[in-house]
Structure formats: structure tokens, C-alpha cells
């Protein structure tokens, strides 16, 4: 299979990389800068069914806890277990090794309202 992926961005500063019908979700470089050093990431259980807008993950900095929302309806497939021992991966590689979870996409139509990289960069400029 060719690894054609498309990356979307949300107003809540999440990125969603869609590949073969599976979404990998994380927070953006901009979001990690705003949050500062993370000390804990509260991840969901694989298999959980979630609806768009559900607070699915909590990322905790020294100072505060922030929710990360499910960008679409679907089922959690896997979580980034490396974050339990190394939450700082989100800071050092927000849009790479610091990914949070993967999920199926119940309705690809829900992706239509999201931003592409250019639109997102403009939104935070």
C-alpha cells in the first residue's frame, strides 16, 4: 500500500494524520509551546468508543491540566505508551514521536471542516 497520508488541524490545536482510514492524533507544536513542559499524559484505553468533542486525553504541565478532544467519532485503536515514562516527548516532538493516540474514523465527512497546514499556520499567526 502506498503511505499516502493527509494531515488536518483543529481550532483546538490538534493535528490528525489520516492514513489508510486510521487517524493519528496529537497536539501541535504551537500547543506544546503554550503548555510548557509536560509532566503527565492521561491516555484513554484502546477500544473506547468516542464521539467528536469528547475530552479524551489530559495533558498536564507543571502548572495546569488541559483537555485534548476527539476530533472525530470513532474507536481508539492504540495509545502512545512511551508517554507514560516520557511525557516530555510531546514537547520535543509534538508532531512526531509525541503523538497521543490512533483511532478509526466513523464518518470521514467529519474531516471536511478541519484546516490544512496553511490554514492552521494562518490561524495562529
Amino acid at each position: 500500500m502506498s503511505a499516502l497520508s493527509t494531515t488536518y488541524y483543529t481550532e483546538d490545536h490538534e493535528w490528525i494524520r489520516v492514513e489508510n482510514g486510521i487517524a493519528t492524533v496529537g497536539i501541535t507544536e504551537h500547543a506544546q509551546e503554550q503548555l510548557g513542559d509536560l509532566v503527565f499524559v492521561d491516555l484513554p484505553s484502546p477500544g473506547a468508543n468516542v464521539a467528536k468533542g469528547d475530552a479524551l486525553v489530559v495533558v498536564e504541565s507543571v502548572k495546569a491540566a488541559s483537555d485534548v478532544y476527539a476530533p472525530v467519532d470513532g474507536e481508539v485503536k492504540s495509545v502512545n505508551d512511551a508517554l507514560s515514562s516520557e511525557p516530555g516527548l510531546v514537547n520535543s516532538s509534538a508532531e512526531g514521536d509525541g503523538w497521543l493516540w490512533t483511532m478509526s474514523i466513523a464518518d470521514e465527512g467529519q474531516l471536511d471542516g478541519l484546516m490544512d497546514a496553511d490554514a492552521y499556520q494562518k490561524s495562529i499567526a
Partner: protein, 367 residues
Amino acid sequence: MTENTSLNQLPLKDLHARAGAKFAPFAGWDMPVSYPPGVLKEHLHCRAHAGLFDISHMRLFEVSGADAAKLIATLCPLEAAEQALGASKYTFLLNEQAGVIDDLIVTRLAADRFVIVANAARAVIDERWIRDHATGLDIFIEAPDRVFLALQGPDAAAIIEDAAIDVSGLSFMSGFEPRPGWFVTRSGYTGEDGFEIALPIDRASAFAESLARDERVEWIGLAARDSLRLEAGLCLYGNDLDEETDPISAGLIWAIPKSLRNGGPFIGAQRIAEIIDNGPAQKRVGLRPEGRQPVRAGAELTDSDGNPTGRVTSGGFGPSVEHPVAMGYVPAALAKPDTQLFADVRGKPVGMRVVKLPFIVKRSQKG
């Protein structure tokens, strides 16, 4: 951020902005919350070398006049008339029910002159309370406008000496006026040795920049100030102290001289004696969450059977101890170290152990 228009601005705001600070509202002030190194590095740098804090949001009151000691002894559980010149005391303003109106540092600079350092969020209430009780006394109360800096950490003493302020004779919890309009105490709120320096606004920028240029110094924002004081087991007014909370329950009896524990001329004395007699119903304790997840202020506590047993009043992550740290109030019977409790964190129980405070070994002496 439209809300910022009504916030008080620090005199050195431009300097902080140039240093890369992120700002957020706190107690009516637009305050630097963190700088480019980030909270974790700022915190660790302060414990390893020295951190520089702008605490100009805090309020200084100068109380002078023939009745100054008498007023202080009415407002605070202090032997103000016997307080040594230059001595600084951690104390509080209490109401009749012994609830804490504010926690303070009171330094005696002369026989008839004291300086009070008060919390930003309480300054207006404090000033009214102090003035109300000064009626009819020979008292002059001033709230001088100063820039107020804290320099904290193991290198702080060497750095301040290099800045031509002689602190060689200054022991912890004492203060003096090195220059006209300047006020320096050896004190702080991080658990480290350090200094708090009030100085005239027109001198402040040059002085702060000279300190910040020292390679041992980093600017430290409010976020790391909070994690530093929490590791040191120190109370934050509004979280761990309020008008419903007495200093005995808060574990601050050490700040009340023995001679005043059975009564005295200060407001709230009778209630303090009663609470000491009966033992406080609740006690402030250190709490160590099991695992890595921070448990923050407001989390409800339960015992092993699920009965409500109090609440977390301060909580976060301790960068030096490398685990979450918290404080809260529990019934006296559950205040023993190693008692197992649970905190409700977003609907999930997180195990907590009662632990002795502080979480770090303090390098400052007890205030």
C-alpha cells in the same frame, strides 16, 4: 486579550517582555508566568544556582509612630515590643474567629517603625483592616511604591554581594535598609536561602538587569514560584489559607510565640487558645499522589471506604523531587504520616499518602 486592560502592570514589564516572558493575570496583575527556559528548567535552576523573581505585585506597608509596636501586637500574634531591630517574622492578620485575613512578613526596622509585606490579592483588605485598627493611635501608615524582587537559591548570597549589597551580617529572617528607599530581607518563599529586595522604581531596571546578566541567574516566573513553594510546603493564600482557616489547623503554630498561645492582646487570641486547647478539627498535611499524575487544588479526598475526608488545596508536580506533590486539609485523625487517602481526579480515584512537609530539604532556616 481585552481583559488585560484592567490589570495592574509591573514597572519592569518591558524588561520581562524583552526577556521573553509569557504573561497571565494573577491577583489583578499582569504577571510573568514563565520565561523561555520553561517552568521545569526555571525551577531546577533556582534550586541549583539562583532565580530572580519580580514580586512587585506584593504590597509593602510601612507602619511608623510611637504606637507602631502596639498596633502590630494588636493585629498579629507577635511580641512586637520585644521584636529585635532588624528581625523579620512570618505572621498573619487574624479576624476574631482566628481566620487568616492574610499571611505576612513583618520586619522591625526601628523602635517605632515596621515594614509589612502583604499578598497582592489581599492588599486592599489588609490596608483597610490595618487603618481601621490604627484609629486613635499615634500611627503613620504608608504604602511606598517600589519594585520588589526576590533572588533565591544557593548562589543568591554571593550574587547579591557582587551587586554591592553587603549581606554578610544578615541572618535568615532579618532585614535592613542598605540605601535610602531600599529594603532588603534575607527571606523568601522557595525553601532556598535568598533575599527579597525592595528598591525605588527609577533604580530598578538597571539593578534587575545587572542581576539577570549574571550567568548564575535566570528569571523565574509565577508557575515555577508556585512549584518551588509547594515543594517547600509553604502556604499560598487563597489556596491553603483563607478567612475560614485558622493558623493552628494550617500547621503554623510555630509562628505564634509560646507566650501568646494561651491568650494575648492580638485579635483572635481567645479563639487561638481554644483551638490549641481542644486540638484543631482539621489539619493541613502534605500529600503524595501515588504514580505520576498530578492532583491539583480542589480535588476531593476520601478515605479507603470512600467517605469524604477533605480536599486538596494546592497540588502540582515537583520538578526537584520528580513526582507530584500536594497539600490539603483532612480531619485530625487522618493527619498521621502514611495514612492512605484517595483523591478524585476527573472521576477516577488516585491513591494519596499523607506525608511530612516539606517535600525537599530546606536550605533556608525555618522562618
